[in-house]
């Protein structure tokens, strides 16, 4: 059935059944592949997107539940100054390895800095605990968030 989706500032009409995870609409229908499939059960965070500015796991969010919301994906988060600062920090520190989880890491990091501009290491660990990285780039994710915080403060 036809559903309306507001994503990255544009309104899309998508053909999807109720109960379809937002993840698969984003990836397979809209062909925006920056949002990743990692586990399908909201336990790795690779599929993280923003719903009205808050990070959510798109693999466990049904399409009919986001009709009135503004969805932002990794492809557009850099248009915001916090997103741009996180992406700049990620490049400065070479946070990534395989990179497959990093869209989700960036989306969560932006969520954290949006509500806490100067997080401590403990606060970062707490907030980011749902985003798995099998390459274990965690040390640089922590440093990257702190660097982004400094960029935003400057």
């Amino acid at each position: 059935m036809a559903l309306t989706l507001k994503l990255n500032g544009e309104t899309h009409t998508v053909d999807a059944e109720p109960g379809t995870p937002l993840l698969w609409v984003i990836r397979d229908e809209l062909k925006l592949t920056g949002t990743k499939f990692g586990c399908g059960v909201a336990s790795c965070g690779a599929c993280t997107v923003h719903m009205d500015g808050e990070p959510i796991r798109s693999c466990q969010t049904y399409i009919e539940d986001v009709e009135d919301a503004e969805i932002t994906t990794i492809e557009a988060v850099g248009e915001d100054k916090i997103g741009a600062a996180v992406q700049q920090a990620w490049v400065e520190l070479d946070v990534v390895q395989c990179g497959y989880c990093q869209s989700g890491q960036v989306m969560s990091a932006v969520g954290l800095l949006s509500e806490n501009p100067k997080p401590s290491a403990e606060e970062i660990d707490e907030y980011m605990s749902g985003n798995a990285c099998r390459c274990a780039t965690y040390q640089r994710i922590r440093a990257g968030i702190q660097r982004a915080s400094d960029i935003l403060e400057a």
């Binding site: 925006l32 920056g34 605990s129 990285c133 965690y138």
Partner: protein, 728 residues
């Protein structure tokens, strides 16, 4: 590790327009540059007339850095900035793009990407430099010796031009037989801390394209319904419920009866349609054992005479020396099955082109594997099969199976269709955890005798587990006199001077499909060697660092000296022995893949209330660190991978069926598990050795040693969380 490329020679080619310079190696050792060959030239470096330089990277990128490292080698030798060189992944061609350590086989593994490319890619870059300079010398009428290339500009006195100006004329020249390589003192990029990864930006903004991101026009998504227990065969299926799923197309039994392929218009429909599919199985040949039985078989093998006396030791005299020692330390160990669980679930896409070629889009770790398998499956000559290598979302060994398992599965799912639509095979995380290939389970039994002076007088070591290499195409490479080296690597070839060592090995029967897993045999051998060294040091009443150094005293043995070097540096940087109240340190040092790594783990808390890992200090000697920050990142990642699994992961079987499903019960290392990692690189003039794997082996024993010191809990069966240790 000896790699000699000096006699391979170089080929150059000129495109029809004469505006591209290509430098590649030829396989017959002789030098030729006939124009008829140029069309078939598979280059390492390509320079367009506009000066764009592209490194053709023969190794796949799973995060370990060759898409940065190999361009660095070429940019260094030509004389470019890093932003003046691009990269492309090489096509599948086992003659030109082979791993020089694997023979005629293209593949990435064993932490060899830099080690085997080091001379080859520098020579390709140096050949390009000399040809560009020769072209400029002829044009300007100056001696080549007075011409330099820096930051992509050719200069001689007051003359200068971008390299693109000389591409056409350089392409007419013969390539040099042995181009002069820059001396380390001339390096501007190799070893430069400021060089950044070339794939950072695209991986932070969603633009990076992995195989999972392939969307070919009109493609179908296929998922495979597999038996609960490995070895089950399909006897029939009912897809009536699948037909209710919108987007479901059809289902078909794979030709080998190993499963049913479910085809759908998109991934979500494939997931739902597969869930709805009913399959009848013949489980008569399926695995039915519990993992407890597999463990019991391994542990009982340790009590019997080993099949192989690996180091041809006089076992009776070693045993007698231990029996007569002042103190004897004895332990048995068990290591469970482990899944690799790379972040990107396995997948690949197959299409047939209008001219009958088969194209595979894959994060391909060993392109030669599927390339050979596809010749058989599709009945095509090699040139009709192309492999488009995509970025890979991790691997840790999983994307390199000797039988090309998932690529073959995709091909089987494709051959039963009419081939009019591309097929994208997708595994879910559950498929990955439950249907995978695993680090084999291993058992060890060790007895060490220590004399009155606190010195080792005998070390008797038995290993039992399932061979990874036997029965694969790699058997002749890795198995000698019956001994699969990957079962005992890290013990038999340890640089430690251990008097009276006897090493025995018994292969245990096939329990499940097994596979190399980041650092292969070293995953268990380093744990045993380094926790036993601590136990021996304790029994001798000696400091663990001093005790280890006393077994690395041969000043004429570079292996011992380099191992001692990292041990001393890690201890120094960790301020060994000086920890705040309530904390302890553990140390381990191990050589693997040609590199030496020592790690100190500092913990707080206690085993009952929860251990917290406060800091890991690492020292690595990997020869010349081409990209030091990539080396550092690989150590950080290797440490996390090793520690994460020994903390709480295992794969277990009940009735042959895997008990774990997804990340909730195969829990990845999380950001809060390790508070800090500090990596130090030993300066070196030696050729580069591995970095992708060597960070992993010492991490787990260093943690175990720290926990034992803090809480007295000596973990010999893994994972730690199931054997008396809780984590904060």
């Amino acid at each position: 590790m000896t790699i000699n490329t000096s006699r391979r020679g170089f080929l150059k080619g000129a495109a029809a327009a004469g505006a591209v310079l290509l430098i590649g190696a030829r396989t017959d050792g002789a030098l030729a540059a006939a124009s008829s060959e140029t069309a078939q030239l598979n280059p390492f470096v390509k320079i367009d007339a506009d000066g764009t330089v592209t490194a053709i990277v023969k190794h796949f990128e799973k995060g370990q850095g060759p898409a940065t490292g190999l361009p660095t080698l070429i940019a260094e030798e030509i004389g470019l900035r890093m932003d003046q060189i691009e990269y492309e992944f090489a096509p599948s061609n086992p003659e030109v793009y082979n791993n020089l350590l694997f023979g005629p086989f293209q593949g990435t593994g064993g932490s060899t990407a830099m080690a085997n490319s080091w001379l080859q890619y520098r020579q390709a870059g140096a050949a390009a430099r000399e040809m560009l300079i020769a072209a400029a010398a002829a044009d300007w009428g100056v001696d080549a010796s007075g011409i330099t290339i820096e930051e992509g500009i050719i200069k001689a006195g007051d003359k200068s031009a971008p390299i693109g100006d000389f591409v056409a004329s350089a392409a007419q020249l013969e390539p040099p037989v042995e181009p002069r390589l820059k001396a380390p003192a001339e390096f501007k990029l190799i070893g430069n801390e400021a060089v950044r990864r070339k794939d950072s930006a695209i991986k932070g903004n969603g633009q990076a394209m992995y195989a999972m991101d392939v969307h070919l026009p009109n493609q179908m998504v296929a998922m495979i319904k597999r038996p609960e227990s490995r070895g089950g065969l399909v006897t029939g299926f009912d897809d009536s419920a699948s037909k209710d799923v919108k987007g479901y197309i059809s289902a078909a039994v794979l030709p080998n009866q190993a499963g049913v392929a479910v085809y759908a218009e998109n991934t979500w429909a494939a997931i739902q349609a597969r869930d709805a599919l009913e399959v009848e199985w013949d489980l008569s040949a399926a695995e039915t054992r519990d993992s407890d039985q597999i463990e019991a078989e391994i542990m009982s093998a340790l009590d019997a005479e080993p099949t192989y006396n690996v180091n041809k030791a006089d076992v009776a005299s070693v045993a007698a020396a231990i029996d007569g020692a002042d103190t004897v330390v004895e332990k048995t160990f068990y290591f469970p099955l482990l899944a690799h669980a790379p972040m990107e679930p396995l997948n690949c896409t197959i299409e047939q082109t209008a001219d009958g070629n088969i194209v595979l889009h894959d994060g391909s770790q060993m392109p030669t594997g599927p390339h050979m398998a596809y010749q058989q499956i599709f009945g095509l000559p090699p040139e009709k099969i192309q492999i488009n290598t995509m970025l890979a979302g991790g691997s840790f060994g999983r994307r390199a199976t000797p039988d090309a398992d998932y690529q073959v599965e995709a091909a089987l799912a494709f051959v039963v269709t009419d081939r009019s639509r591309p097929v994208k095979l997708v595994w879910t995380r559950e498929d990955d955890i439950r249907s995978g290939y695993y680090r084999p389970a291993f058992g060890h039994k060790v007895r060490i005798g220590i004399d009155e002076g606190g010195n080792i007088v005998g070390w008797q070591h038995q290993v039992a587990g399932q061979s990874i290499m036997k029965g694969t195409a790699f058997e002749s490479f890795a198995v000698h006199d019956g001994v699969d080296h990957s079962s005992i690597e890290g013990i038999a070839d340890s640089p430690y001077q251990i008097p009276g060592m006897a090493l025995g090995l018994t292969d245990t029967p096939k329990a499940t499909s097994v596979l190399w897993w980041r650092s292969v045999g070293h995953t268990h051998t380093a744990y045993v060697m380094e926790t036993m060294m601590d136990l021996a040091a304790n029994a001798a009443g000696r400091d663990p660092v001093e005790f280890r150094l006393s077994h690395l005293t041969d000043s004429g043995d570079a292996d011992q000296q380099r191992k001692a070097g990292v041990l001393k540096l890690a201890a120094e940087k960790a301020d060994w022995g000086n920890v705040p109240e309530g904390r302890s340190q553990g140390i381990a040092v191990h050589k693997s893949f040609g590199s030496y790594v020592a790690e100190v783990v500092e913990v707080s808390g206690d085993a009952e209330e929860g251990i917290r890992i406060e800091k890991v200090t690492c020292a690595v000697d990997c020869g010349i660190a081409v990209n030091p920050d990539v080396v550092r990142a690989q150590m950080e990642g290797g440490i996390g991978y090793g520690i994460g699994h020994v903390m709480r992961d295992q794969i277990t079987l009940t009735g042959g069926s895997v008990d774990q499903f997804n990340f909730p019960d195969y829990e990845p290392l999380r950001i809060g598990d390790i508070a800090a990692i500090d990596v130090h690189i030993i300066p070196s003039a030696e050729a580069p050795t591995g970095v992708g794997e060597p960070g992993t082996p010492p991490s787990a024993p260093a943690l175990a040693n720290a926990i034992a010191k803090l809480s007295g809990v000596q973990v010999t069966n893994l994972p730690m969380a199931e054997n008396g240790v809780s984590f904060a």
